[in-house]
Subunit: 361 residues, 2 copies
Amino acid sequence: MAQYQPNLVETMVSNMRARLLEGLKDSPSQAQQSIQYVGVPKLGIGMDASVTPLPHSGLCLCQTTDFFYPLVDDPYMQGKIACANVLSDLYAMGVITCDNMLMLVGVSSKLTDKERDVVIPLIMRGFKDTATEAGTNVTGGQTVINPWITIGGVATAVCQPTDVIMPENAVPGDVLVLTKPLGTQVAVNAHQWLDIPERWNRIKLVVSEDDIRKSYSRAMDSMARLNNTAAKLMHKYNAHGATDVTGFGILGHAQNLAKNQKGEVAFVIHNLPVISKMTAVAKACGNMFQLLQGFSAETSGGLLICLPREQAAAYCKDIERQENYQAWIIGIVERGDRTARIIDKPRIIEVPGKDRDGDLW
Amino acid sequence: MAQYQPNLVETMVSNMRARLLEGLKDSPSQAQQSIQYVGVPKLGIGMDASVTPLPHSGLCLCQTTDFFYPLVDDPYMQGKIACANVLSDLYAMGVITCDNMLMLVGVSSKLTDKERDVVIPLIMRGFKDTATEAGTNVTGGQTVINPWITIGGVATAVCQPTDVIMPENAVPGDVLVLTKPLGTQVAVNAHQWLDIPERWNRIKLVVSEDDIRKSYSRAMDSMARLNNTAAKLMHKYNAHGATDVTGFGILGHAQNLAKNQKGEVAFVIHNLPVISKMTAVAKACGNMFQLLQGFSAETSGGLLICLPREQAAAYCKDIERQENYQAWIIGIVERGDRTARIIDKPRIIEVPGKDRDGDLW
């Protein structure tokens, strides 16, 4: 189903979006007006989910939408990934219960009727199954035809203002935790290159076919995993704010999050957990991914969380105990001018690939 | 922006959707479970908006999403139409206040950077302006690139169960009211044909170029108009249920609505209000639109409402007084087997075209 280089299109799209969305922002006076009438400030364009106060009930409406192109060759897994990716924006705000989901599907005009009737229901089933796993339901959606397949959805929660962890309260002394490894899109691309000799020739000196398959399995598994437990534990360990890592890469999202802080802080990233061998692959193809620079696009990436220093290790241990997945302390929050950077020679943490049958490698 | 025949694609897509969505329906036991715990039944796939009870607060969440292809050549108007079209699904359920909107944009990969930076912000501004007119805000959205432009959104309301008018309580003796004329897609297509000589030759004996331009202006104006007042008045005049007329045409949606009724009723349509000259155009091109059969796709069409007979005339008058637009009694509800039909020779009500400057023609 992949008819393009997801990494490049994603980057192009991300840049375009940022520019186009400028036009949607409220003027300052409008934004300030809407802050006043309820305890929780209104949060709009640019953050992970929108938060809209519902004045009549004291509740607030948290919403997010996302849709993108398929990037794995298993339609069922693609549906699961799309669903996990949409929900992740709610989880990044600490919202752990989604009340309703809608599914958005762009069906390729290039599929035959038969292909369509096999592939699209599998995607939908994957999406629905992950919604069920998250304790929510898909009650509607929209389907249109377009040459390129797209898949995504809308996640909505109605909650108390206190259920939301606003992404703005980091303080110097906090540490940064990341809950999924980087390198998903490198792994997805490398896996496509197994079938493209001129691409494969560029990386075959640094990886084996088996490496690629295991890294690809790890990437699929990681992208289909919900950030739900990660979000629940943000409350338990008093997180000061978070975002999820997607199209702008780890540093792009760290910069967005830093810019949104109330306090004068800066984020410094020391460690980069990366799916095994993907650092070598990224280097072998001339840094087109900008992986170690922090700008390689991720899909359904982990939460990047600001946690009090004394809580971070316990947070990571708790995730591992509950889910059998690692989380990592990757950096610190210091005094600064609301920027984020990666140190000169970050430590690369190689995260094992995965056999198809689920064993770690 | 039109690169296809909207009517044909819309019909194809509508049929495909209906089939694909079957797979999303809950099994009967699941659906029944969710009916029990709150006064308002859960309403999902197949109706205009989903209604999800929020057990902790006694409120319910009403949501709808829609996106489609541009069909007019004015990007700003296209944005307004897309927004009115999305909101219409809430209005059809009697929900008159939208708490939040998200915008969904598929940007064509065939636009140059310059075209894109002119066209897309205009579409977004139109969408946003109509959202403002409806008393709501656009707080987020998603943008992707795809060869065919798509534009749409998500509308969400959190409301009391009593704010929702379930589309299921029609009784024999009710009458059917329609709040916008039919023929929008015929007008849109005919307008495109002004530039396609072999098409234009087929219809030029029955319409003038000026006719087409006025009908097209009427169609744009009609599609960009909110069904908000129509929805408010449904409460005032005790409507028994409604739907909005879109991709399946007037009869397709009447059939859906009839099938959803609790009582053993059938809908009979006697009158078809159609934008001026569009009946002649539809006939001249061999009924490809199925306009008089009731299956011509509409975009952002009117509400089709079941009203108590003694209230219907007052309803229509009230709309005309408030908005200076006509609504029409188009049929009756009788005892039957939950079907809908148009009588053999329905009366065609010709609805005047519109000058660009706003005067009626």
